[in-house]
Symmetry: C2
Subunit: 230 residues, 2 copies
Amino acid sequence: MKKIEALTFDLFGTVLNLEDSLNPFIESFISDSQIDTTPSQFWKTYRHRQRIEQYQDNILMLGHSGYTQVAENAFVYTAKIYGCDPSKSQIEGMMIGWKNLNPFPEVLESLSHLSKKFKLVVLSNGEHNFLKHLVTERIKFDFDNIISVETVGEFKPSPLVYRKASEILGIPPDHLLMVSANSFDVLGAVSSGFWGAYIDRYSLPFESSPHQPHLICNNFIDLNNQLENI
Amino acid sequence: MKKIEALTFDLFGTVLNLEDSLNPFIESFISDSQIDTTPSQFWKTYRHRQRIEQYQDNILMLGHSGYTQVAENAFVYTAKIYGCDPSKSQIEGMMIGWKNLNPFPEVLESLSHLSKKFKLVVLSNGEHNFLKHLVTERIKFDFDNIISVETVGEFKPSPLVYRKASEILGIPPDHLLMVSANSFDVLGAVSSGFWGAYIDRYSLPFESSPHQPHLICNNFIDLNNQLENI
């Protein structure tokens, strides 16, 4: 592991705490629309749908829609599942939520430690402008680079994303460590030649695949500790 | 609509009733493993996971695993979500379930009617051999052709599937009607130039997309009626 030069970080669900950040907007939407569900169940359905929409965006080959459009489509679809056709202002309210995401509490201190040993890079499904906003206004950490999948026009875990990131950074895949709480993201990175660290924030199984993570960590403090001891 | 020459049918969830057919195997697995869930909830999670696995199989570009392998992986993953690592015999039990699927009750009579006007073709995510088994042993209807996505090595809704089916049949896309209870399948077909009929068996919203179905039907009887009146 000594040859790792840079860590590439997933943002949504790994650095940024989606569920807690979006919960007030979802609570307000549910109460406003008198939908029969809990915020937790709505979020679970929404997050699942978001992933389906992103995957279909890749597979259908109709061009890349971008993270924000897909997050909006997924919200509308999820609301419809619960029998509600959301108004324009309800959709806008939800999308304001996405601009106000907060990082997980342990992230910042760990990033500061890690930056002494490695280049730290954002590698995210978000659009360029959205990522710049989140990094400067919400995470407030000075990453060495911010790479959006917009550059290749496909969402992770497309191999195009990891290959292009390696090319942009000028660092070969096996000198890069992908850090993600989304197992499919670690799977995509590892099968593209990266090292992989799975942050197991949601207690979910890893995929049945020969491309397993090299590190499994509870959170960023644990990641920091495991990288110290290698 | 008069120019439609052939109807291409999805099997899993459209012609074949997955949930009712697999329910005894899921009930037995849940009872055997003392998992804390209902058969209905387990099936919902399983079906969701199966779709994720199929989509990732396309996106990761590691080669096509085939329907049966992916259905098995999804079952193992779903069981693990509920805290159970299934035994080899439990997995085999579940996969026997997949070989014993039953068609929805109204399908056969409708297919007989439709065959008087159109060529009827299977266009399915299953493997060639699995499809032949299901058609001859379970559905027992003499389709004009059986096309598996194995031919192109990607699951639906990859455009490769619809384009290749049109080529194999020697019929241009706009003379073909895709019939599916999976909205993504109709979306994939319509965006590839097919006509699309969405069999709304599960009361789910259709995707936000310019590629909407041309027909929305409750079941195959409704499909038959709508095609009579065009």
